[in-house]
Symmetry: C2
Subunit: 170 residues, 2 copies
Amino acid sequence: MLDPALVALAERLQGICVGRHLTVATAESCTGGLVAETITAVPGSSAYYVGGVVSYADAVKRDLLDVPVATLAAHGAVSAQVAKAMALGCRARLGTSLAVSITGIAGPDGGSEAKPVGLTYIGLATRGSDDATASAEVHRFVLPGDRAAIRASAAAEALQWLITTAEASS
Amino acid sequence: MLDPALVALAERLQGICVGRHLTVATAESCTGGLVAETITAVPGSSAYYVGGVVSYADAVKRDLLDVPVATLAAHGAVSAQVAKAMALGCRARLGTSLAVSITGIAGPDGGSEAKPVGLTYIGLATRGSDDATASAEVHRFVLPGDRAAIRASAAAEALQWLITTAEASS
């Protein structure tokens, strides 16, 4: 039932991560588990995928991903700052090589002029040489289409970025 | 792309939970986020769905869901005892009215005579009158079909049980 193009990305990610001994975790808000589900649809995914958090409510971002309350209050849940904190918190909590985070407005409600439906921030945290040097980057997207299309596009961007990062990891 | 029958269950669950002011969280192993994704595919799901954990690795069951290491060691990750601990830990951590857990063997590998592919335990924790009276029950299934079919059936059973429990909640 999953989009074959999404599953193909997950298969590719699995091949690269297993070959390079990299582990992956996920922190999802607007995609609500779609990235995790796609990754685990591939047999053998437990060889590199550790798990993740679906942090739909802000309290879950705070309690399970260590996103600071002050960051949520200052910038809102859909922000580059929260995406970065989610990725860093997820990677640290689950102890993986890589962690991806997604926070956005999938609609149909919840959009505004400043933060329209489709606005999505994806964060990617890497361990670096060790836990002390972990860092994260964030990309911003405004994705077109309806709720399902926005979620699918966000998942594809997250998987693609994981692939690129894993390929570049030594 | 999601199975319309699964999404229909999520829509029904949402209507009941929103009407009764019940909140829900999920703890998924073999379904890998499918229940969370199905719930959040429905617009407005943030009114009752708080979030969840995809606890693929045992360390995530331990660290994010408080499943005792001794329980994992004694019974294995796919067991009634671990399903119960996952549901109770998830409900307590996320502070919801209800929490569902799923642990099973989706295959194609990982099965044995004692624990065949398709063996699935679903746990459901309820708060009771308050947090101190929280309790959980577990159902055991041996689900037919391939990996995708087993995961979809497990998700359907989890959603159906949440519906039945929510309907019976006062």
